[in-house]
């Protein structure tokens, strides 16, 4: 609310009273010259006029002092107001300057988290790819070692199983051959016994022939000259008998040696066969047990590899989930942008407010405490009042008053 100063109050209230008094007394003074009787009246009028002028002077002096005091008070208040406005604008300016710092901090945080998110994403992806690669490599190695489970042959385990089975088969075949050999040798031994019987028969025949030859020789001697030819035949028969007996004897010895040697070989072979059968049985059991263990281990390994593959896939899914969770970085970035934007807008508004306050302060300073004096100019009804106001403001503030359009 604008408060009229003391000078304004004087012009508004005191000057019109002086004018009214002058309008009443002036006719009275003029009539005193027409009527001499009114000399006392004129004297009184002069006295009144002098008194009124004196009162006016006193009032003017009083109003001037009041006005001066009021101006000093107003200047003091304006100075205080100006100081407070200055403090406010300085505060607004300080706060406005902080906002770019805050937005700069937020932008840097956004950039840093973006960079960190990118790096984390790349690392997680690398982990997933490496885990999958390792699982695939391990699965390939296992397939080459243990087979792919599709019946395709060629794995190390398949080849080992075949080799072991082949070795066991060969051992079995060897045992069969040995058994058949023993049977053949048994037949030879039995044949040797039969041959010995035949040799005994040959010896018996040779002895009988020898007896016949001896008897024939006796009978030939008894016949004398007539029996000489028969004696020669009997002698030849006896010689044949001796040779038969000798051959049979040789044959017996030979058969006995063959029989002895064959029995010796049979005995040794039988021992080897028994040993081989024992070892074969043991080896077969060991191989079967080994193959069974290998199968068990392979099944366990396959189960573990399947679990590893499952774990790897699960790990990949989890990491994919983590990577996708990082989209919160983008959401956070956008929310920060939604903070930065209004903050910058707020800065602009603060600066605008600061400028407006400064403008008001400048205008008040231009009026030297009168502020926007248009209200006073509007209030004046006389050109002299307005002229005086302009003269005063122009004299005191020169170009500033002109610049504000006053």
């Amino acid at each position: 609310m604008k408060i009229p100063d003391m000078q304004t109050a004087y012009f508004r209230y005191v000057s019109p009273i002086n004018g009214i008094i002058a309008l009443v007394l002036l006719p009275m003074a003029l009539t005193s010259f027409v009527d001499p009787k009114t000399e006392r009246t004129i004297s009184a009028a002069v006295f009144y006029i002098a008194a009124i002028i004196a009162a006016g002077v006193v009032i003017n002096i009083y109003v001037g002092r009041l006005n001066k005091k009021h101006e000093e008070s107003k200047r003091s208040i304006m100075a205080d107001v100006e100081q407070r406005i200055g403090a406010v604008t300085a505060h607004l300016y300080d706060r406005a300057q902080i906002i770019p710092v805050l937005t700069g901090q937020l932008n840097e945080v956004t950039e840093q988290t973006e960079t960190a998110a990118l790096d984390m994403g790349a690392r997680f992806m690398s982990i997933v790819e490496r885990a999958r690669g390792q699982a695939a490599k391990a699965s390939g190695s296992f397939s080459r070692f243990a087979g792919n489970g599709n019946g395709d042959r060629g794995s190390v385990i398949d080849l080992s199983r075949e080799a072991l089975s082949g070795a066991i088969g060969s051992l079995g075949e060897m045992a069969d051959v040995t058994s058949r050999t023993l049977n053949e040798m048994k037949i030879i031994i039995d044949d040797a016994g039969n041959i010995k019987k035949i040799v005994s028969d040959i010896e018996y025949i040779a002895e009988q022939v020898n007896m016949l030859a001896l008897n024939a020789a006796i009978e030939a001697a008894r016949a004398g000259e007539h029996g000489r030819g028969f004696s020669i035949v009997a002698d030849e028969v006896r010689k044949l008998s001796d040779r038969s007996h000798s051959a049979a004897d040789e044959m017996r010895k030979l058969i006995l040696k063959v029989e002895s040697d064959t029995k010796d070989v049979y005995s040794k072979t039988e021992k080897i066969a028994a040993d081989s059968r024992s070892k074969f049985s043991g080896a077969e059991a060991v191989v079967r047990d080994t193959l069974k263990k290998i199968d068990t281990m392979m099944n366990e390994a396959k189960t573990q590899f399947d679990e590893l593959g499952g774990e790897t896939a699960s790990l990949a899914r989890d990491i994919s989930g983590i990577v996708v969770s990082m989209q919160f970085q983008d959401i956070t970035r956008q929310r920060l942008e939604h903070v930065i934007g209004p903050l910058l807008l707020f800065k602009t508004e603060l600066e605008d407010v600061q400028q407006r306050v400064k403008d008001i302060s400048d205008k008040m300073r231009v009026g030297e405490g009168y502020g926007d004096a248009s209200w006073l100019e509007n209030m004046y009804t006389m050109e002299s009042e307005r002229s005086l106001m302009r003269k005063t403001l122009t004299k005191d503030h020169g170009q500033e008053a002109v610049a504000t359009g006053l």
Partner: protein, 121 residues
Amino acid sequence: MAKTIMIVDDSASMRQLVSFALKDAGYDVIDAINGKDALSKLNGVKIEAVITDLNMPEMDGIEFIKNVRSTSGFRFTPIFMLTTESQESKKQEGKQAGASGWIVKPFKPEQLTDLVKKFAK
């Protein structure tokens, strides 16, 4: 031969993770940093679907979709909006511009790949 999907987003981390999800599902990916960049990469490329952000510098998602729809060969290409915006008015704006679908962040990879599989036949 793998199908190609275009991802348009000004956030490098978003491009990265969407690419990761799509590549994991067996797709090839072309990425662009905004609508203008994406338009320059459309020429001579067979793209099965486009996934675009909404708020981007230089050319936003809505403007980009309008441009794509007026580009020969891309009138019926599936375009999905991928953004944090969930306002119905924005969805309608995207739909009117020519968007085929809408995915709100945060999303699960299955949501993205299922949607792409459904449309990008």
